[in-house]
Amino acid sequence: MTQTALLINLAGVLTAAGPVVFAVIGETVSERAGVINLSMNGTILLTAMAGFAIALATKSVVLGFVAGAVVGGLVALVVAFSSITLKQSQVAVGFVLTLLCRDLSYFLGNPIMGQAGPRLSIVPIPVLKNIPILGLLLFRQDFMTYMSFLVILLAWLFIFRTRPGLTLRGIGERPEAAFVRGAPVNRLRYLYTTLGGAIAGIAGPMYSLSVKAGWKGTISGLDGIGWIVLAITIFGGWKPLRAALGAYLFAFLQWLGLVLQPALPGVPSQVLQVAPFPLMILTLLLVNMGNAEGVKRLIAALPGPARHAMDKMLRALNATPPSSLGTPFDPE
């Protein structure tokens, strides 16, 4: 592979990771506020269908993305209402929505299945596109891929460098303390869950209007990605930069699977296509393991150098979720 071909391929990896980035950042925002939006898999499918349908009907890609964000926000609003106001289990409601939104997308998307529709076009950025290597990699993308770079940065800035971001972390970490300091915990949780859902809702149209253009129903190849998004959110340790890294890693592994295929004739292609999923989960296990009592004891029993090495590795990978994640908050 020549250098140019490799760069174009890697630029493709960045494009393919775009929707995952949006979904992971959206989920991170929601979980930072203490609400798990488990419906990701359904949200991505439904927003992909809705975004494509609207773009097809209005001939406007922009409206397609708006539709995706609105639908994603509405699904998240159902999660928020059921869990915050009606005090039902977030996991239960999220799981039902996962299946409901999936089937709804197949049912409602049936008439537009397989149709050719509008799609995003590449917008090279003048001047920047001519930078050697980076130009080819970063600055010859479509508009939404640029936005996916931006959303990582904005989310990081907001969560860690602003006052409302501090409150956001507060309502997920110590809702009682935040409440005492005057933060309207449940109202903010509504806000951030819906906002997170809307951000994640961009992911669907990014698939149906760019990465995997069109709506192909059950063979769209989108079923399963939402579950990976939830795994990457944990892998990312609820930090936007690390979460984005996870998204790129996942897209890279998927690409690698395709590239390696001719080199590994013994391994069926179907296995390589799903290979990133178990790999991602293995990493997830490592991330979680540092928190477990049993593992801690096991490491403590190791001889000196091995213990230090294990300790360091686990600490680097380790991530603790927001303390009140998944639990309701009752101001009374």
Binding site: L38, V78, F81, S82, T85, L86, K87, Q88, V91, A92, V93, F95, V96, L97, L99, L100, C101, R102, D103, L104, Y106, F107, L108, N110, P111, G217, G224, W227, L230, A231, I234, G266, V267, P268, Q270, V271, V274, A275, F277, P278, M280, I281, L282, L284, L285, N288, M289, N291, A292, E293, G294, V295
Partner: protein, 353 residues
């Protein structure tokens, strides 16, 4: 959610009936919006599920794995666990069954013996896969939802690898699955054309009966529930929580493995890529809907199976996608959950006055 002492007995069922009606109304609305005739659609589903003995026997074929999944999940739900990994457990049941079938196919054992051993192997496979999620949860601190999801993907990869690799059909590997077993190794069905196996039906009914008695009538069930409601308190009271957690996983895995085994031996007669067919996830919906009451598991699972089978004809009859069944099921479970929350909210308001 489970404490009904402080309210009038009619209120719970009234809210649930309201949720069911609202779910039907919402689905009808979706149909109207998409220019489809709602009554024709519902009638088609009913006819497609109960219109003839042939279609009803298909409903029963679909009821069997769903009932088994529900039975298993009632155990894990009882222990407060979200065993989302049940899809993988069903798959491993299918894989282990196929493995045993292939190893014994050319042996001198009588076919009935081979089938029985293969089913037992499938149950063991499901149990092992469930225990893996349990061990990750109990000793690795990995939430069972994410551990289970991960194991689902691993199971899918394993299944595909076997079908396209070591167990591929001579000549061509394809999505249609492995080479079908010899006809003598198929589980006996009611009639040669039917896919309904009376033995499988019996096993599934037995499963839900066992679970009903385990949950309602034994010390084990009581302790499981104690672990599920307040694991820490149960631990302080001397219940070995880890052991009960693993036990719940193991029992659920056995039922899930049995479901996979039946799909392989009685329905498909081979291992196929989508051997679990989403029955695990659908079982989660049923278990959620019946909310620990095992007695309701059988009829609700039958209703869900009827929706699935009844909607198969929709694309041909009305040019509607068969996923309408899933839309009805999802809307129903969502609204029942919301009605539950609403009822608690109203009750709380009243008690504050």
């Amino acid at each position: 959610m489970r404490d009904n002492r402080s309210e009038k007995g009619w209120q719970g069922p009234a809210f649930q009936a309201g949720a069911v009606l609202l779910a039907l109304a919402l689905t009808a609305l979706i149909l109207v919006v998409t220019n489809a005739p709602p009554f024709a659609a519902f009638a088609n589903i009913a006819l497609g599920a109960f219109g003839s003995w042939q279609v009803f026997s298909d409903v029963l074929v679909s009821w069997i794995p769903l009932l088994l999944a529900t039975s298993g999940l009632l155990m894990t739900f009882g222990a407060g666990l979200w065993n989302i990994g049940i899809e993988g457990q069903i798959m491993l049941g299918g894989i282990f069954t196929t493995w045993m079938m292939r190893s014994l196919a050319s042996s001198a054992l009588p076919p009935a013996m081979i089938i029985a051993l293969s089913i037992v192997a499938g149950m063991a496979g499901g149990m092992l896969w469930a225990l893996l999620a349990g061990v990750l949860k109990a000793f690795g601190g990995v939430n069972e939802i994410f551990g289970g999801l991960g194991l689902n993907f691993v199971a899918t990869a394993l299944n595909l690898w076997l079908i396209f690799g070591p167990w591929k059909r001579p000549g061509i590997a394809s999505m249609s699955g492995t080479e079908p077993f010899h006809q003598s190794l198929w589980m006996a069905t009611l009639t040669p054309q039917s896919r309904l196996s009376p033995a499988a039906l019996l096993l599934a009914i037995l499963a839900i009966v066992i679970v009903f008695f385990l949950i309602e009538g034994t010390y084990l069930g009581l302790r499981l529930k104690a672990v599920g409601r307040n694991s820490h308190a149960a631990f302080l009271l001397g219940v070995p929580t880890r052991r009960y957690l693993l036990l719940a996983f193991a029992l659920c895995g056995i039922f899930a493995g049995l479901a996979g085994a039946i799909q392989v031996t009685a329905v498909y007669h081979r291992l196929i890529p989508s051997i679990s067919s989403g029955y695990g996830y659908l079982g989660l919906m049923v278990a959620m809907l019946v909310n620990y009451r095992a007695a309701l598991g059988a009829p609700v699972a039958l209703f869900f199976a009827a929706l699935n089978v009844g909607s198969i004809q929709l694309p041909i009859m009305l040019k509607l996608d068969s996923s309408l069944a899933g839309v009805i099921q999802g809307t129903l479970v969502l609204l029942v959950l919301m009605a539950q929350g609403l009822r608690m909210r109203i009750r709380k308001r009243r008690s504050l006055k």
